[in-house]
Symmetry: C2
Subunit: 146 residues, 2 copies
DNA sequence: GCTTGACCTGGAGCCCGCTCCAGGTGCCAC
DNA sequence: GTGGCACCTGGAGCGGGCTCCAGGTCAAGC
């Protein structure tokens, strides 16, 4: 069975050594095996689990919720429905996260376009006070362009 | 000119009173006007700006970067190109945020599907050790279904 | 046999972004 | 005139998620 040193595990997972130790300490990882010298040796399974952790973390799951998932996983087979429920809820959360990002991104792009329009109007044709007005409220400005 | 009490501003923007005061303190808002009693009165402009702040914050911009944007805005007209650059960079950041979320979401959905498949297999046809194996490595299991 | 380097531990510290608190003001309703 | 309420201030505290540190162990290479 392949074993990974902490350094290799860090390399593979992108977590820092400290973070790996921290995750073990709080129980997000079950106790990692040790060699004779007491040094950790991560298994292939540990790395798979860490991959899942990275995925959940990077999609905004809190450590508390990941711990819940870890517990379910440790409890065995009969928690699979609960795990599905947990992941499905998270999946929906990710979905709405994406939707919100898209929507706010449009506002940002609108603002960029607004600034571009301002630059496109020759100096002096508009008063300089932007005053944080929303782009939509300056449509007059954009019309002045034609 | 419409003015908003702190309570109304909080209501409209979704920021807490404390957060509004905090934002003013750190300079993310320029000093808010006061009435005779020294109480804040937010202007329409303040609310517009706060709308932008919410947008940037909710898309993951740090306070430090929002401060940078606020400074540019205060410096006036000649910083518009810089502001475009800043927002365009943020727009790209949002884009890759979304891409990453989508990608990780697929992994999560794959895991959900894996669990569903496990449930679909009648008891006893598989050994119970999941051991955090990635779904792809258990394809044998899924084939066992047919 | 000594250095180097990767690891170990427990515990403190850090950064971010708020959030809460104590003590005070001003105004309105009863 | 006395609640009650919305607000004020400066400053402390907090929760999340790490990150750093001091002091120590072991293994390999020179």
């Amino acid at each position: 069975m392949t074993a990974y040193t902490p350094g290799q595990a860090a390399e593979e997972t992108g977590f820092s050594l400290d973070t790996l130790r921290y995750y073990e300490r709080i129980g997000l990882l079950e106790p990692i095996e040790r060699n004779a010298a007491g040094q950790r040796r991560f298994s292939e399974d540990d790395l798979h689990w860490l991959g899942m952790v990275r995925c959940l973390r990077d999609t905004g799951m809190s450590i508390a919720e990941m711990l819940r998932f870890a517990e379910l996983t440790r409890e065995g087979e009969h928690t699979i429905r609960d795990r599905i429920a947990l992941l499905a809820a998270h999946d929906r959360a990710v979905e709405s996260q994406i939707a919100e990002l898209r929507q706010k991104q449009e506002v940002i792009q609108g603002k960029i376009q607004y600034y571009r329009d301002v630059l496109a109007i020759p100096d002096g044709l508009y008063d300089c006070q932007e005053k944080h007005a929303a782009p939509e409220e300056r449509r007059d400005l954009q019309h002045a362009d034609g």
